[in-house]
């Protein structure tokens, strides 16, 4: 069925592409009332091993055993912009990719109305891109950056591409460049795959602010956001069965800590804070980019992480080779579950042991500790087509594989290679 749904989607998207007059503007109508455009990435990726599944984004299916896949990184986006007047406008963007749940509602990445009060102030209302990191709003548009994908250590955990709400932006000239300040507020609902289970995350409210300064050769930005899990006083999404089992009062005589372990899964202070800063430089054919972030969570089960990356590329004619290094590290030490006392009643002991192991697994598969070195190149075949190749070598520490889909807990340090080749275009 998933395959049928996918085919259905592809046919719909193709129909859109075929009717879209994207190649040239209609010169008899220069009002720019309608504009159809799009972007696509067709890619082959080889990655993962027998335990860890490669996933570019949290809502993608994992790729295991060093297999090749055409679905892991391919995507197509279609956009319709409507500009009836200089003040009013609207944008609808559909993004097609192979996700865990094949949900149609998530295929709508943007759907917003825009109102420009004057050249400096703009308000948008609807489904809007969340402006968390430098590439957050265009991570799916492969043609717009040099790598195969935004660095996994930084961007995979940022699972939220869009929110439903509003944002207000103010721009002003500052020095040799332009400053944009933006405030965002709204809510998010999305589906992820965690340990083989689909789980629904609802975040409400979310607030964010961004300062973005850009000149001919420099870009600098900082952003901060605060997200709140909507399931207050409830268990962290996906942990309910385990938490309820641990909370059973009958366990207390054999396992006094069980009730406290159960409470750890409660979202009693369900806030996550994101802070990030980034700088990019582009001059004399050199492209250098650096970003650092800190994710601070008050929830035991959602990892507090620090990440950063540095990329250096050099354009030589139409080819840009690059090197990229990225790091991510959880803040907390490994959580060791205190084992239950044995009851001398074998069936109960087996159940207690299984519960303790399940809890240890749940606590071991969230943390992140890894770094990756990537080498690659982009070749601008034409003004609208780019071919890219990239090799990533990742060092993943034991109990630190939270960015990967995991068949079982990673108990030893592991090194993995990911190879990718893709074709990116805009139209």
């Amino acid at each position: 069925m998933a395959f049928l749904r996918r085919i259905h989607r592809v046919i719909f998207l193709l129909a859109w592409v075929l009717v879209a007059p994207f190649s040239h503007a209609d010169e008899s109508d220069l009002s720019g009332m309608f504009r159809f455009s799009g972007f696509a990435t067709l890619g082959a990726t080889k990655g993962g091993n027998e335990i860890l599944g490669f996933r570019r984004e949290l809502d993608r299916e994992g790729l295991y055993d060093g297999d090749w896949s055409m679905l892991a990184e391919s995507s197509v986006g279609l956009q319709l912009d409507i500009n009836p007047t200089g003040k009013w406008g609207g944008t609808l963007q559909l993004l097609g990719k192979d996700t865990v749940d094949d949900s149609w509602s998530d295929a709508v990445s943007w759907a917003f109305l825009r109102y420009r009060f004057n050249p400096d102030w703009t308000l948008r209302v609807g489904r809007i891109g969340i402006d968390q990191y430098m590439l957050s709003e265009y991570r799916s548009v492969g043609f717009s950056y040099v790598w195969i994908r935004p660095p996994m250590e930084f961007y995979t955990l940022a699972g939220f591409d869009f929110f439903d709400g509003m944002d207000l932006a103010w721009t002003t000239p500052l020095g040799s460049g332009t400053l944009m300040a933006k405030l965002q507020a709204g809510q998010i609902g999305n589906t992820y795959e965690v340990e083989g289970n689909e789980l629904e995350l609802r975040l409400k409210p979310i607030f964010g602010g961004t300062l973005h300064w850009e000149s001919d050769h420099w870009l600098a930005r900082i952003s901060a956001s605060r997200l709140r899990f909507d399931q207050r006083e409830d268990y962290f999404p996906g942990t309910q069965l385990l938490a309820e089992a641990l909370g059973n009062p009958a366990l207390a005589p054999f396992w006094p800590q069980a009730a406290a372990y159960s409470d750890d899964f409660l979202l009693d202070d369900p806030y996550v804070h994101y802070l990030s800063a980034g700088v990019a430089y582009d001059k004399h054919s050199w492209q250098v980019q650096l970003e650092a972030n800190h994710v601070d969570s008050d929830t035991e089960y959602y990892p507090s992480v620090t990440g950063s990356y540095l990329s250096v590329g050099r354009q030589i004619g139409t080819v840009t080779p690059f090197v990229l290094a990225a790091w991510a590290q959880s803040q907390n030490d490994r959580f060791i579950v205190e084992p239950p006392a044995l009851s001398m009643y074998p069936p109960l002991d087996a159940a207690l042991t299984a519960l303790a192991e399940g809890l240890q697994t749940a606590r071991d598969q969230g943390p992140i500790e890894q770094h990756t070195l990537s080498l690659g190149m982009r070749w601008d075949v034409r003004y609208d087509i780019a071919l890219k190749a990239q090799w990533d070598h990742s060092w993943v520490h034991a109990y630190g594989a939270g960015l990967w889909e995991q068949k079982e807990t990673l108990t030893e340090d592991t090194e993995l290679n990911t190879f990718s080749l893709n074709l990116n275009c805009i139209f």
């Binding site: 220069l30 986006g77 943007w110 917003f112 050249p119 265009y138 548009v141 043609f143 332009t178 601008d380």
Partner: protein, 141 residues
């Protein structure tokens, strides 16, 4: 020695001729209040940082086709980027819904026509294609 100098002069001359790009002129409607445009204002308009003239009126920005020499020369002169690089930059703005790129017009004659017919239009073309029906506000080379 003299022959060597002559040879060097000749080679330099050839190199200069080969590297010289045609001059691109930026034009607006004759009735536009704008009389001249600095590089900064042009960059702001063509790189999507503003969509308004200094007086606050909305600008109709015109581009030539992506495979045309004039477009290549214009962006090379303005921001020292290839058309592919400029497209990659614009993809960020367009697909985040921040701004729409300039309208593509098929040739210089149609740019002149569109600028003549729209008071708020701005376009560019090879200096040899310009005529007196529009106002030249900037030169890029």
């Amino acid at each position: 020695m003299l022959r060597l100098l002559r040879m060097l002069t000749l080679l330099l001359g050839i190199a200069l001729v080969c590297s010289a790009r045609a001059e691109t002129v930026v034009v607006v409607n004759k009735d536009s209040p704008v009389d001249s445009f600095g590089r900064r204002e042009l960059v702001d308009l063509y790189m999507g940082r503003t969509q308004h003239f200094p007086d606050g009126s909305l600008v109709l920005r015109l581009d030539l086709p992506p495979d045309s020499q004039a477009r290549n020369d214009f962006y090379r002169g303005l921001v020292n980027k290839s058309v592919a690089e400029v497209n990659a930059y614009w993809a960020k703005l367009l697909f985040t819904g921040r701004a729409s790129p300039p309208q593509v017009i098929s040739n210089s004659a149609n740019v002149l026509k569109a600028v003549r017919e729209n008071k708020n239009a701005i376009g560019y073309l090879d200096s040899k294609d310009v005529d007196k029906s529009v106002k030249v506000v900037s030169r890029v080379d």
